[in-house]
């Protein structure tokens, strides 16, 4: 009689395989056709169909051309060997899923799943890998546990699923705790621990920098909450929100439709670039540009002076990269990568700075206007500025006027012939690029040198870092003030400078980023140094950090040590108490064994399944000479064994001595008549 395989077990197995394959797929390197095949196979298996069950070997031949295709892709250099091997493991698992269920099949699916998980670990460092690993561990363990019980249950009887799942779940939790302990404590025996892999993360990049800024279109970017930049500042400002301008590049030429730069790119490639002399109390930034950024332009807090030590993050690891200077104070990474990290020194806001290395042509361009600019703009600017001669004061007047008279909106009518005129005189509403363009050009009409700057505005604290989102993309104006350099003036109303995304979505993304950051720092980039720090923190008292009051309570490690010592004492006591409880039972058993041996020596043997009680009854029934001696022994044994009246010290020896005496007397009585007969 065969039993149908437990449906829940098969579902758990299929989902576990899907989780294992997903751990590779999150790297984005698995070929699409392999992904599609595995998804179809898992779905079909989940629906309970096993079309390969009738011909598992024949269908296994289908794997041969697939293996050949993967080999050709590897040989042609189109695919990494690890990716090909992992993809093939996924295909093998799919073929097995669609075959008949058996312990062998389940074992092969588990093997393929483990290989896929190992492949996922090699291919991806994403947080989603952790989720997939967790899911695989739970699902595969439950499936295997149910399979073990199912194999032991006699045919026809139901599998005790509910009774099994609870201890299995506890076991999986313990295994995970053990995995974490192993991970933390197992010494990293090599120094090749800094290999860092980048992946696209939540999808293709949505931000980016182009060579021009074109007015018009909609401002959908402002509602994108994806994080594009992560920065650690020294000294740490400490504030939760950082209203800082993160400069990408500047534009000096406007043709009526779009901004561009006349500066020529420098052909020199360097690892470190100095844009302007530094100043005291510079702000050091360790910046990481995430895959969501999607451009090669360096971003730095205004106003950057030195940039360098750049690393590019690729799917195969980190590499050093060089920087190239372009016009408009723009710096670009030479090579394309998914992400970058670099160091910047910036002059703090409000400090007089050098305008930077500007050619005379570029300086002249700061006053240029479009050829067909409407004269009403100049009139309007003059009305606002009046006879003001100070460029910064004029810029402030214009900025305040624009913020007061114009409204901010992300909904625009699309491309128009003269977007600036449309903004100033028709719609009187626009987004940051309209405000910044209007301020810049109105300043230029009054003879003040200005340029458009683009980058990001804001900064949201998560942990000890600041995050900048794609929706923080912003445009503002640089006014050249003699003796002070370029000064930032922002005409956009303050409430609309940062991103305009949904608060809930923003919170969720922030949460994800925080967890992802912890994952990166605690797991992916965990190193021998972190292990040493961990052990040092455990073994040494914490340092007295300024600003932290010392409490009178013992440190955490003291609590932990006390808890462990208490647990050890409790388990020892429990073990010893159990041993003590068993002692009377063992004593009674030894006693009955001795009684049996003495009776056997006297020729009284027990039959199959006959207990001492039965033997005693038989001897009494047969009027055996030993019956009077055996009866009290039997009663005393039963009391000791089952009656909660353990044998007293020495009682056992005394009773056995009496029995021995009776046995010897019985033997002598038996031998006497035989002697007479002879």
């Amino acid at each position: 009689m065969t039993t149908r395989p437990n449906r829940l077990r098969l579902i758990l197995r299929d989902l576990g395989t899907a989780a294992a394959f997903s751990s590779m797929a999150v790297s984005g390197q698995v070929p699409v056709w392999a992904l599609a095949l595995v998804i179809v196979a898992v779905l079909v298996s989940l629906m309970g169909f096993h079309p390969f069950a009738r011909a598992p070997r024949l269908t296994a031949i289908l794997l041969v051309p697939l293996a050949g295709a993967l080999y050709l892709a590897v040989a042609a250099g189109q695919m990494d060997l690890v990716v090909a091997a992992c993809s093939f493991a996924g295909l093998v698992a799919s073929q097995r899923l669609l075959s008949e269920t058996s312990p062998t099949t389940d074992g092969q699916v588990l093997l393929a799943g483990l290989l896929m998980i190992a492949g996922g670990a090699a291919l991806s460092g994403e947080l989603l890998f952790a989720v997939c690993l967790l899911a695989f561990a739970v699902l595969a363990s439950l499936s295997l546990g149910l399979a073990v019980v199912e194999a032991a249950v006699p045919p026809g009887e139901p599998v005790p699923v509910r009774h099994v799942l609870r201890p299995l779940s506890k076991g999986v939790l313990v295994a995970m705790a053990g995995a974490v302990a192993f991970f933390v404590l197992f010494p990293r025996l090599n120094w090749n621990v800094g290999v860092r892999r980048a992946a696209p993360g939540l999808g293709p990049a949505t931000s980016g920098f182009s060579d021009t800024v074109r007015l018009g279109g909609s401002g959908t970017l402002k509602s994108n909450p994806r994080v594009v930049l992560r920065a650690k500042l020294t000294p740490d400002p400490g504030s939760q929100r950082l209203d800082a301008y993160w400069l990408g590049r500047t534009y000096d030429t406007f043709n009526g439709q779009e901004w561009s730069t006349i500066g020529a790119p420098s052909k020199r490639r360097r690892t470190r670039v100095t844009l302007r002399p530094g100043a005291e109390k510079q702000v050091y930034q360790r910046i990481e540009l995430l895959p969501a950024y999607g451009a090669r332009t360096l971003i730095a807090m205004e106003t950057p002076s030195k940039l360098g030590n750049a690393l590019m993050h690729t799917p195969t690891g980190d590499r050093r990269t060089q920087l190239q200077e372009l016009g408009g104070d723009e710096l670009r990474f030479v090579e394309e990568a998914l992400g970058y990290s670099y160091e910047v020194y910036s002059v703090p806001p409000g400090t007089d700075t050098d305008p930077g290395k500007l050619a005379q042509k570029e300086l002249d361009q700061l006053l240029s206007l479009p050829e067909n600019i409407d004269p009403r703009i100049e009139e309007l600017a003059h009305q606002v500025v009046g006879n003001e001669t100070d460029p910064l004061a004029a810029a402030q007047k214009l900025s305040n006027w624009l913020q007061r008279e114009y409204t901010y909106t992300l909904e625009l009518g699309g491309d128009v012939a003269d977007p600036l005129m449309e903004f100033l005189f028709v719609r009187k509403a626009g987004h940051c690029e309209h405000f910044a363009t209007a301020l810049t050009l109105m300043l230029r009409t009054q003879g003040f040198e200005a340029r458009l700057a683009t980058g990001f505005f804001g900064g949201e604290r998560v942990g000890d870092e600041y995050l900048v989102r794609a929706g923080d993309a912003h445009a503002w104006t640089h006014v050249l003030v003699p003796g002070r350099g370029f000064v930032t003036v922002d005409a956009t109303p303050p409430a609309f400078r940062a991103n305009q995304s949904l608060e809930l979505l923003e919170s969720l993304i922030s949460l994800y980023e925080a967890i992802e950051g912890m994952w990166r720092s605690s797991v992916v980039d965990y190193s021998f140094r972190d292990q040493m720090n961990f052990l040092r923190d455990m073994s040494r008292p914490p340092r007295n950090e300024p600003g932290k009051e010392r409490t009178q309570l013992p440190p955490l490690r003291a609590w932990l040590t006390a808890a462990m010592a208490g647990a050890a004492v409790y388990w020892t006591w429990r073990y010893l108490s159990r041993r003590k409880a068993r002692a009377p039972v063992l004593e009674a058993t030894r006693f009955v064994d001795s009684v049996e041996r003495q009776l056997a020596a006297a020729g009284v043997r027990a039959g199959d399944g006959e207990t001492l009680e039965d033997v005693s009854a038989r001897l009494t029934r047969d009027a055996h000479p030993l019956a009077p001696a055996v009866s009290p022994l039997t009663r005393r044994y039963l009391e000791a064994r089952f009656g909660q009246r353990p044998l007293q010290p020495g009682e056992s020896a005394r009773l056995l001595k009496e029995l021995k005496h009776s046995v010897e007397v019985h033997k002598q009585q038996q031998q006497t008549p035989r002697a007479r007969a002879s």
């Binding site: 074992g107 093997l111 290989l115 090699a122 073990v148 032991a152 599998v159 005790p160 009774h163």
Partner: protein, 320 residues
């Protein structure tokens, strides 16, 4: 308290037997190979995620050891035995297994160091109540089978390792001769009618009372039911069913050994079964033993037992 003290060799063997034995299953072998590969990969590349996976794989190995140990400790087992074991065919064998505390899962029971093939299983064993595990065992040949212990194996929790614990439990299982078809005729009956019955009414026998009728002429006056005759005033004869029971004496000749002895035992067992089913009395004549003729299942069991011990008389004395 079923058997005499074990021999010295058995005691030494039992003392040297490890308390637990561990065997890696086929899935477990695969698992260990993958774990080894992941470990090499982690050490070679320094990939922290591989270290994490390695930690999980090693934790599962340790967890398997701990949970399987918890599963097979605190167990007591006894043999319930079998109704009757015939050589060469599966017979139902039972063990009673009890868990003192906690739960146990996926236990497989079998007899250790014995020629009995087969095992029984229990998926879930709660604490307290005794669970009777049934197994279809098969004994290859007739005779007494020395049972030394019960082997309990579990692959809990993940089927990677099979941990075994042996409970020392001495006993003897007597395997009856194989049941088959006997071509030979059992021979003439020692007692009883030969050929067709002489009275078709079969009412002149010595069996149960079939009725009363008036005594006929020349009929035996010893059959008169005097009490009834006195009450009705005429002679009534007691009619009794005539019994067809005949008595056969089956025998195994002295000097048979090996396969010849086995074949004869099987043949005698089958003949005895057939004759007893037909209601006859069967006796048994063995070289060193004689069973008086008798009928019924008890006699059949006695014959089978005697045939099972035939050739193993020394062991029988030991067991006694």
């Amino acid at each position: 308290m079923s058997t005499p003290p074990p021999s010295l060799w058995r005691r030494i063997k039992a003392a040297l037997r490890p308390p637990r034995t561990l065997k890696v299953t086929s899935v477990g072998r695969t698992y260990l190979v993958v774990t080894f590969g992941v470990g090499l990969g982690a050490l070679n590349t320094g990939n922290n995620l591989l270290y994490l996976v390695l930690g999980l794989l090693l934790s599962v190995i340790i967890l398997s050891g701990v949970l399987s140990e918890r599963c097979i400790k605190d167990l007591t087992v006894r043999r319930v035995g079998t109704e009757g074991a015939f050589a060469g065919e599966p017979f139902a064998f039972r063990w009673g297994i009890t868990r003192r505390q906690g739960h146990a899962f996926a236990l497989t029971l079998s007899e250790v160091d014995s020629p009995l093939a087969g095992e029984g299983g229990v998926g879930y064993l709660p604490a307290g109540a005794e669970h009777v595990v049934r197994a279809d065992l098969t004994a290859p040949r007739r005779g007494p089978v020395k049972l030394t212990g019960v082997r309990i194996t579990t692959t809990w929790p993940l089927g990677l390792f099979a941990k075994t614990r042996v409970f020392a439990l001495e006993g003897t299982l007597l395997v009856y001769p194989r049941r088959g078809f006997a071509c030979a005729d059992p021979g003439e009956a020692a007692v009883g009618h030969v050929g067709e019955a002489n009275n078709p009414h079969r009412l002149d026998g010595t069996g149960d009372i079939a009725g009363l009728r008036e005594l006929g002429e020349h009929e035996d006056a010893r059959r008169v039911h005097w009490l009834k005759s006195a009450s009705v005033g005429k002679l009534l004869k007691v009619e009794r069913e005539r019994e067809e029971r005949r008595t056969y004496i089956l025998g195994v000749q002295a000097g048979l050994t090996g396969d010849a002895l086995e074949r004869r035992c099987e043949e005698v067992a089958e003949q005895a079964h057939r004759l007893l089913e037909a209601g006859h009395e069967v006796g048994l004549e063995l070289p060193q033993q004689r069973l008086r003729p008798g009928a019924g299942s008890g006699q059949e069991r006695a014959i089978l037992r005697a045939l099972a011990w035939l050739g193993f008389e020394e062991q029988r004395e030991e067991a006694a």
